[in-house]
């Protein structure tokens, strides 16, 4: 007894405790719901069997049904487009801003801080505001584009199936850019200045310095940001609820919004779970990238 006690206060037992506590927490709060979700996708679930664990198993029927629905493929494609375009936009603009503020003009850190306001705003508020900006008849965006002569007639961002997904992507890029910028700024400030001084002495121009120093030194940060971006983008729900509700005719519907719609609007919990399982696979891939790219950071 005493040996166990002393091992807990000082020794191996303490180490094990340190590992077991968070692992247990993770298992209960994330692991179990995840497993439950996967199990549910193989069951027949309706609202009255929602409270019990014993439900008829139907094998892969939910998956087969799901992929036989005409809207499934377009929605999966929309999701892929939404993720790629959002991440590309957020990253490109975020990196640009990070480099801009890195030049450290007076007030740079202030301005950088202000950019974070967009990240702090609740998604539903952002959705409601972009809903107005993107409005076809009275929207600010259309007004600006019209006044600058880019377009002749109004674009119905939310209601035209050719634009509806892009409407949400634009809002999402705005929302995520500042987060990308801050993380990239942190990465930039971690690059030792003497590298640049040495390169400059060797006669490397700005572009060469960027390609041969900045980018390679930022590799792990960039990997982490893209992985996090993938996760945040796959989580993005509020903007869809606020701007298009997935319409018109599912042209801006994505898996995360669809899963909610199936579960909580149509009460088809099994199908909602099935979509979530498909999403989990993609998030797992992102997690692997994230863990790999941050691995040597942890080792210090």
């Amino acid at each position: 007894m005493k040996r166990i006690l002393s091992s807990v206060t000082d020794g191996k037992g303490f180490d094990i405790g340190l590992v077991v506590l968070p692992l247990g927490f993770l298992f209960v709060m994330s692991g179990l719901p995840l497993v439950y979700n996967v199990v549910m996708s193989f069951q027949e679930v309706d609202m009255f069997s929602l409270g019990s664990f014993v439900r008829p198993f139907v094998g892969f029927r939910n998956y087969v049904d799901l992929f036989s629905q005409p809207e499934t493929r377009p929605i999966l494609f929309n999701t892929a487009l939404f993720v790629v375009a959002s991440i590309a936009g957020q990253f490109a603009i975020g990196f640009g801003l990070a480099l801009f503020f890195w030049t450290n003009f007076p007030g740079a850190s202030w301005l950088r801080g202000l950019f974070l306001v967009s990240w702090v705003m609740p998604g539903l508020v952002v959705g409601a505001i972009w809903n107005w900006i993107l409005s076809g008849d009275f929207g600010v965006l259309n007004f600006l584009l019209r006044e600058t002569g880019v377009i002749d007639g109004n674009i119905f961002w939310r209601s035209d199936p050719n634009y509806s997904l892009w409407a949400v992507i634009i809002a999402n890029i705005w929302l995520g850019t500042s987060f990308n910028m801050i993380l990239l700024s942190v990465g930039l400030s971690g690059i030792p200045k003497d590298l640049y001084e040495a390169a400059e002495l060797d006669g490397a121009n700005a572009l060469q310095r960027f390609w041969t120093i900045t980018l390679p030194m930022m590799r792990s940060t960039i990997g982490a940001i893209i992985a996090l971006g993938l996760i945040f983008t796959l989580q993005q729900f509020d903007l869809f609820a606020g701007i298009t509700s997935g319409g018109p005719n599912n042209s801006s519907n994505v898996t995360q919004y669809w899963a909610w719609d199936l579960s909580f609007r149509q009460y088809d919990f099994a199908k909602g779970a099935t979509i979530s399982v498909i999403m989990i696979v993609f998030v797992m891939l992102a997690s692997v990238v994230y863990v790999r790219s941050t691995r040597h950071e942890v080792r210090g």
């Binding site: 209601s159 319409g247 009460y267």
Partner: protein, 409 residues
């Protein structure tokens, strides 16, 4: 087992029976859930009821609109359901078909307060499942055509002759549409949620269609008219993503000359609309055609696993006995044809309410069907596919009929 253990068991048993005795001497507690806020009927009626000291104590819990069904399901399946709940009428059948709600048919037959014949047919149909009553309509609403009389005059139209038929509606909308002044002829909602179905279904029903015959010729014709209105830009393309509330907002600000919406707009319209307006019955396919309209609002129901069905019904009887206060105190329309709506002193509002009460006679429930949300989703997708030009009205409604057939089984 030693003597001490017996003693403990005895004490525990005595304690429980005492507690049970104490409880039976106390009031019966009835739990009520609804989404009504403090200025709306449920909490106020409950306060008044508790003052009567009938030996029944009512406890109230407010739930959010989006949570009503999922909260109720979770509570029911874990045995923690309230005694009474208010549910949105298209979702009533979901519960009654599965026996989750108590069959009130016999209680209503014996009741001197609740009389089935007092109710409008639409709301009553929404609480009915297989010929039995599983609830009592709480309030009701419907949609009709608002129109801007000043704009009618400005375009040389008779402000006392609103359009009666679909053709007249399209024709009037054409005359009223004025892109230079940012005015659309009509505004309504074809949003990808229940609101889209709510607005479209009456049109299909007027032409002889229904949710289980959504690709009938009449329904296709109805969708073609909608498509014409959108294609000719007689209504904003944003009709596809705007709620009824936002759409009618453009009517109030003078950016649309006519609007299809419900009585919930009246108070805001009185405040915001700086022009003379009126309300007309929904236009019909041709003169003399069957009328129809949408039907909204909530129903009361008693959960089947309540321990006090008789007391719960008494509470509902009290709510029903106060139906004549529904409009005066809370601005909601009672679902009853035997209660006349008192004058409000606002001439515009009073005239509008007369039309809405008339329209209520033709209001039809959505369903009732336990899988209504899936049926509704199929209809929404069809409306949007046709209006965006991705499919013809017929193709879109054929696809919807296919999906609905799979749901109906």
């Amino acid at each position: 087992m030693d003597i001490r253990r017996y003693a403990i068991l005895g004490t525990v048993a005595l304690g429980t029976s005492l507690a049970a005795f104490a409880a039976s001497a106390e009031d019966v507690t009835i739990n009520v859930w609804s989404l009504d806020r403090d200025i709306q009927p449920a909490p106020n009626l409950i306060k008044d009821f508790n003052k009567l000291n009938t030996g029944i104590k009512v406890e109230y819990r407010q739930i959010q609109f989006d949570d009503v069904v999922s909260e109720a399901m979770r509570a029911y399946s874990t045995g923690q359901a309230p005694d009474i709940i208010a549910v949105d009428n298209p979702e009533h059948a979901l519960f009654s078909s599965r026996g989750a709600f108590l069959d009130l048919t016999d209680m209503i037959a014996k009741s001197s307060v609740v009389k089935a014949e007092n109710y409008f047919p639409g709301p009553l149909a929404s609480v009915t499942w297989e010929g039995k009553y599983y609830g009592i309509p709480k309030a009701t609403n419907t949609i009709a055509l608002y129109y801007n009389k000043d704009m009618f005059k400005a375009k040389g139209l008779d402000p006392n002759k609103p359009p009666q038929t679909w053709d007249e509606l399209v024709e009037t909308a054409r005359k009223l549409t004025d892109p230079a002044a940012n005015v659309y002829g009509l505004t309504f909602s074809a949003k990808a949620n229940e609101e889209g179905t709510f607005q479209f279904l009456p049109w299909a029903q007027m032409a002889g269609g229904s949710y289980d015959a959504i690709n009938s010729d009449g329904a296709i014709r109805a969708l073609d008219v909608w498509k014409k209105i959108i294609d000719e830009k007689l209504a904003s393309p944003d009709t596809l993503t705007r709620s009824q509330w936002d759409s009618t907002g453009t009517f109030n600000s003078g950016n649309a000359a006519m609007a299809i919406s419900g009585p919930w707009e009246l108070d805001r319209m009185l405040k915001e609309a700086k022009f003379d307006w009126g309300v007309a019955l929904l236009p019909v396919p041709e003169p003399g055609a069957e009328r129809s309209s949408a039907m909204g609002d909530f129903n009361w129901a008693i959960f089947a696993n309540t321990e006090h069905p008789a007391e719960a019904f008494k509470v509902l009887e009290y709510f029903v006995s106060q139906d004549d206060r529904m409009f005066k105190d809370f601005g909601q329309l009672p679902a009853r044809s035997d209660i006349s709506i008192p004058e409000t002193g606002e001439p515009l509002k009073d005239a509008a309410l007369k039309v809405f009460v008339e329209q209520l006679k033709y209001a039809k429930p959505r369903g009732p069907h336990p899988a209504w949300p899936k049926i509704s989703k199929a209809i929404q997708d069809a409306i949007q596919a046709a209006l965006t030009g991705q499919m013809s009205s017929k193709e879109a409604l054929d696809q919807a009929a296919e999906k609905i057939k799979a749901v109906l089984g």
